[in-house]
């Protein structure tokens, strides 16, 4: 919560007293402009005392010091098989998880357990096992990690990713004990300034009812001190595309905690990510080449995700199918227009 407040301070200052006023018609919309797995990083990476993990390039070199004596099937394809048909079997490489006490995120289960983190503001019980898995992988760390770079760009450039929330029944952006929050996908480009880089408030987004109807969700929330907290959404599907492969994430029990003002919103989206969906999104959108640039061994990461999964056990096997997570989210105000459904093309 403290971080949410700190990150949003500039927005709040800019908005001045506007937050206390009701938005026109009691309605305000926001479009996602940043969305990425929340990673708590210190300057000296003290949360990763054993260093960062090796990636596909390093693992290949270790496994096959003389590949010219072997062949494609027993080297290159063997690694691809291990990537696309992953297992939880132990491997010969160490995997470094986050060992620090702190993480951003929310207390999803209302409990404080040994595997939980503490929020930097002192809040206990933070559930964010995805961070524990990816926090010591260079590709997931900002601002230069390959995943961080790709997603930061794709969320703005790819209309497929154009998620937004619409708040209705809003009496005040500072305090309101009951608002309705609807999640939509938009259809339009983002409004930018003349540089084309900076997203500006005041744009218009049409609701995507042509392809995006399955993404629409509704929940309730309350605003206290300018911070929106929503009730969990059973399963939020987040469209997640880069490099022209349309993928998704499935976040169960998803909830928002956002600092609001009249120009934007910023905070967290947290819940339990379906592990298989999470993993296959990663490797479908990024080839081993891309993963190698971020020293992301999908083979090793899968084992960690499975090991650290902490929710929604499979009724048959009892193994957890979902993993707690939090995403940093930043949004810009837009006017959301819900046009009548258009006829399907022949």
């Amino acid at each position: 919560m403290q971080r949410t407040r700190a990150l949003a301070s500039a927005l709040l200052l800019a908005a001045g007293g506007a937050a206390a006023e009701a938005p026109p018609g009691g309605e305000v919309g926001y479009v996602f402009t940043d969305l990425f797995w929340s990673v708590y990083q210190t300057g000296d990476a003290s949360e990763c005392p054993q260093g960062f993990n090796d990636g596909p390039r390093e693992q290949f070199a270790a496994l096959y010091p003389e590949p010219a004596r072997l062949d494609v099937a027993t080297t290159q394809l063997a690694q691809e098989i291990a990537t696309w048909h992953p297992t939880t079997e132990p491997e010969g490489f160490p995997f470094y998880t986050v060992e620090g006490p702190y993480a951003y995120g929310l207390d999803l289960d209302g409990k404080t357990s040994p595997d939980d983190f503490e929020h930097p503001d002192g809040t206990p019980g933070i559930d964010n096992a995805v961070y524990r898995a990816v926090g010591c992988i260079i590709g997931f760390r900002g601002p230069d990690g390959v995943e961080h770079i790709f997603q930061s760009k794709a969320i703005k450039d790819e209309a497929y990713n154009r998620m937004m929330i619409n708040l209705t029944g809003v009496d005040s952006l500072a305090d309101d004990d009951s608002v309705t929050v609807t999640v939509y996908r938009g259809r339009d480009e983002l409004l930018t300034d003349a540089t084309g880089e900076n997203i500006m408030p005041g744009g218009t987004q049409r609701v995507d009812r042509r392809w995006g109807e399955p993404l629409i969700r509704e929940t309730s929330g309350r605003i206290e001190g300018g911070i929106l907290t929503t009730e969990p959404i059973g399963e939020l599907v987040i469209p997640w595309q880069n490099l022209q492969v349309p993928s998704i994430h499935r976040i169960r029990d998803a909830r928002f905690e956002l600092r609001l003002d009249s120009t934007g919103a910023e905070g967290l989206l947290a819940g339990y990510a379906d592990v298989d969906t999470w993993y296959y999104q990663l490797i479908r959108n990024d080839s081993t080449h891309h993963l190698a640039n971020g020293q992301i061994s999908a083979i090793s990461l899968y084992k960690a995700l499975r090991r650290l999964a902490d929710a929604h056990p499979d009724p048959g096997s009892g193994e957890n199918t979902a993993i707690s997570t939090a995403l940093d989210v930043r949004m810009t105000q837009v006017y959301i227009v819900d046009e009548a459904s258009q006829a399907a093309s022949p």
Partner: protein
């Protein structure tokens, strides 16, 4: 004109009669008709070559035997280049034996699979050889190969035929569909330029040869229009922009002109005044076709898919699906050799496909990526969608009566699949499976409409 293959030798003997049979501008039965006969620009050709209209790729050059001609343009991949620079043949008869290192992060120099049966580049891509007394004609020139043999080139790209093509009009070796940096260096069929006025272009897509502006904006027609009158006026023009013609433009072939108002003339194609859609968000869009009465314009529609196949909406557009609504996938593969040999066909090595679909286990492949079975009594509707017999234990073609063989649907002679992980119609969870997001050794969904992927069709 000669060719290295046995078929070429036979063809050479029969060249004269076949030239007569495939007269210039010939069309295949059930493919063309008068519309296609006017759809390309005649170019000078050396004796013995011809233009054939294929049902998928449109007009292509072919040799006297009707074999489609291909080029192998140089292509920039992540770690280097492959393909041929203009004027420089690069496909020879020594089989490559090691990887080229184009599949980053894997290094070069790793022995390729099945070396004992690995074909040479020219086994799959016989060069189109020229006689010693052959003369260049127009864009057709003659190159000297490093063994001294002469090879025909078009626009300086060396020409080849494909071992995959079996009948005149087959274009099974390659496609003109758009490929990008992470795709292999594909072979591409070569043909005469389409007969278009300046300012227009044609894009090969999964749904047909789409007419666009030269800047790749989709072009639309309105059902209420005819060649003499446009019904789109007033408020309609806020959404639709007539494609206007310059003052000196003249009607020719399929193309005529409509004077919307004094001095403002609109292009008309096959009787349909043309527009662009102001709300289209990207190139080659189909978004305008959502508006009742409006449709994209094609020079040639794609051949019909099998009866019973369906179209399903996804989060990103439409995909082709089987009778139950399961998304159809196509396997793509080219190996990491300097030759960039394809590995996506049942007669190619199956090592790559089996690795992706089942970790090397054919049974797991059948569970994860089942073939799309053809129904009893179903027949191939055309030469693009065919029914083939596959041995599921090997992935290779089998005799029709072979024990355990499956009768399955194939697109361009390659079996198609569904994905075991797709749970409901519209799921595309298998898309992008495999190396390089399914582009170099993997599976991609059969998209019919792309609203978000910027021209993936």
């Amino acid at each position: 004109m000669t060719s290295l293959s046995e078929w070429g030798s036979r063809g050479r003997r029969a060249a004269l009669s076949l030239v007569a049979a495939f007269a210039f501008g010939a069309s295949l039965p059930g493919v063309a008709g008068e519309e296609n006969a006017r759809s390309w620009r005649e170019v000078p050709m050396p004796p013995g070559f011809q233009v054939i209209v294929s049902e998928l790729e449109g007009p292509v050059f072919a040799d006297a035997d009707g074999r489609t001609l291909y080029e192998w343009p140089q292509h920039v991949l992540r770690n280097g280049y492959s393909g041929e620079a203009p004027g420089t043949p690069g496909c020879y008869d020594e089989p490559t034996t090691v990887t080229a290192g184009l599949m980053s992060p894997y290094p070069a120099g790793i022995p390729l699979p099945e070396l004992d049966t690995r074909p040479a580049c020219t086994d799959l891509w016989p060069p189109v050889l020229a006689e010693e007394d052959a003369e260049p004609v127009g864009e057709w020139t003659i190159l000297e190969r490093r063994d001294g043999a002469l090879q025909w080139a078009y626009e300086e790209q060396p020409l080849y035929t494909s071992a995959r093509d079996r009948r005149p009009g087959d274009v099974l070796g390659g496609t003109r569909r758009r490929y990008q940096r992470d795709d292999p260096a594909y072979r591409v069929p070569v043909g005469p330029p389409p007969a278009l006025p300046p300012g227009f272009a044609v894009k090969a897509t999964s749904v047909g040869r789409m007419l666009t502006t030269a800047s790749n904006d989709a072009v639309y027609a309105y059902a209420e229009d005819d060649a003499e009158a446009s019904a789109c006026r007033g408020a309609c023009l806020q959404r639709w922009a007539p494609v206007t013609a310059p003052a000196l433009a003249a009607a020719q072939g399929d193309w005529t002109l409509l004077e919307r108002s004094p001095g403002v003339r609109q292009w008309v194609f096959r009787g349909q005044p043309l527009y662009t859609h102001r709300l289209d968000r990207h190139s080659w869009s189909q978004q305008g076709s959502d508006v009742p009465g409006w449709s994209n314009v094609f020079l040639q529609p794609a051949p019909a898919w099998p009866a019973g196949f369906t179209v399903q909406a996804t989060l990103a557009g439409n995909v082709l699906a089987d009778r139950e609504g399961r998304t159809i996938y196509v396997y793509y593969c080219a190996d990491d050799s300097a030759d960039q040999l394809a590995c996506d066909h049942p007669v190619d090595t199956q090592v790559y496909r089996l690795a992706m679909c089942g970790g090397g286990d054919p049974q797991r492949c059948l569970a994860h990526w089942p073939y799309v079975l053809a129904g009893e009594g179903q027949e191939s509707p055309n030469r693009t969608w065919t029914i083939v017999t596959i041995d599921p234990r090997t992935g290779r073609f089998a005799a029709d009566d072979a024990p355990g063989a499956l009768r399955v649907w194939a697109y361009r002679d390659r079996p198609v699949y569904t994905f075991g992980g797709d749970e409901r119609p519209g799921d595309v969870a298998g898309g992008g499976t495999g190396e390089w997001r399914g582009m170099r050794n993997g599976l991609r969904a059969f998209w019919l409409r792309d609203d978000y992927m910027q021209g993936i069709l």
